[in-house]
Symmetry: C2
Subunit: 222 residues, 2 copies
DNA sequence: GGATATGAAATCGTATACGAACGTTAGGGC
DNA sequence: GCCCTAACGTTCGTATACGATTTCATATCC
């Protein structure tokens, strides 16, 4: 049996390729995405490319205007803030739902990942830190009973990642805060706290980074 | 200037048409959506139809399998429950964010709409009731500062509507509860309660209907 | 000189066509 | 009788082609 990954449709290829190029900054915000050019570059025709672009539009990674074309979505700071706020809400709820189902083994794994993250801080390895951060949330939400909610979390993540890659850098102070908050959250979950308390704590974590962001942009403007 | 509605692209037409037919029950869950047939029925070619179907897939209204085709998404009761739960979370947060910005005028308008809903209950007019319910939330979320969050609310709404239309009927008891809860929520907002209290209240409203749903399906099975 | 009309170039939107993948059914072998 | 295989029909996936729309540069008029 051939692997389904190799059998990916042209549309899927185009989607992944363009998404990757947006995420890694090859296509920076405002970059014009011309269907014919993309089709030529990717070695496919315009139809699958168009489908890919529309999907990316639905995810908020590109803006699309009828008869005009598509551009990589700009990073409106306000928009960024709203996305973070939304993510904090959804992630907080997902955490609260997942908490009672994690179990001691999962808790230990999450702690282990967080320890690695702490180590990354000293080695100053932002790429690895980001991947571990994703792993952490994977473990946390592994048993989340609500797949629909989880889907919203993932969408928020990819959107935020696409916004952050090009303009916002890795901020050691904020990352360090994250690790500390993660530990506190895990302790809270281990203590068998109620859903409300856990959700509040999970949200506060995100709010702290949001406040940090506001403080930073405020400092930039002064 | 011609109205943009008349200038809608074929793709948009197809999207609206299929969505409407799913919502009103013309295409019931499990119905096979054949691209060529739809294209013929709608008087367009398959390319825009395909795009419309993929958009509907992204919204969860249809399921799509590669090289197999699309079908109207089934109404897995569990899925329905998860969607409601997610909606309760998102709607609760949106309510909390909107509450401080509604103002006395908006509050009065919301109360007026809710009164109409109460009247509808006596006249037994489910269609009008549903529309007024949408109006109520429109007023409530009119000044919601987070458009991204609001988008999630709307997506949840349409998804729920598509699931409900075909199988779940209008339940007077639940509708009556809604109206009462709406009034309580508006009083709470008017009293200047904190965001946490309001969010909790808004969520409880949805939870009540969720419980009602569970009780009803439980009764059906016995 | 500035504003407006006009043309060409670029790009999108969609129809059509054909190849590929999947499900099904008929036929033959065990 | 059952299973395996092969041919068929159906439907999707994508390339290509062409019409529609927008944009930009140029020329013209006031």
């Amino acid at each position: 049996m051939t692997e389904p990954a190799l059998m990916a449709s042209k549309s899927e290829q185009a989607y992944s390729a363009v998404k990757a190029r947006i995420s890694d900054g090859t296509y920076s915000p405002g970059h014009r995405l011309v269907l014919a050019r993309l089709a030529h570059d990717l070695g496919v025709s315009v139809v699958p490319v168009r489908e890919a672009i529309r999907r990316l539009e639905a995810e908020g990674l590109v803006t699309f205007q009828r008869n005009i074309g598509a551009t990589v979505a700009g990073i409106d700071p306000t928009e960024y803030l709203y996305t973070m706020q939304t993510l904090s809400i959804v992630e907080g709820a997902a955490t609260a739902l997942s908490a009672p189902l994690i179990g001691p083994a999962g808790l230990d794994r999450a702690r282990a990942v967080n320890s690695e993250m702490r180590a990354c801080l000293q080695d100053f390895d932002p790429v690895r830190f980001t991947r571990l951060n994703q792993d952490f949330h994977s473990v946390l939400f592994e048993h989340c009973p609500n797949p629909h909610l989880l889907d919203l979390v993932h969408r928020g993540w990819t959107r935020l990642a696409s916004m952050r890659s090009s303009t916002f850098r890795f901020v050691p102070g904020r990352a360090s805060e994250s690790v500390t908050e993660h530990d506190a959250l895990l302790d809270l979950i281990g203590s068998g706290a109620g859903a409300d308390v856990i959700e509040r704590a999970a949200r506060l974590h995100r709010s702290a980074t949001l406040d940090a962001y506001l403080a930073r942009t405020g400092a930039d403007n002064s």
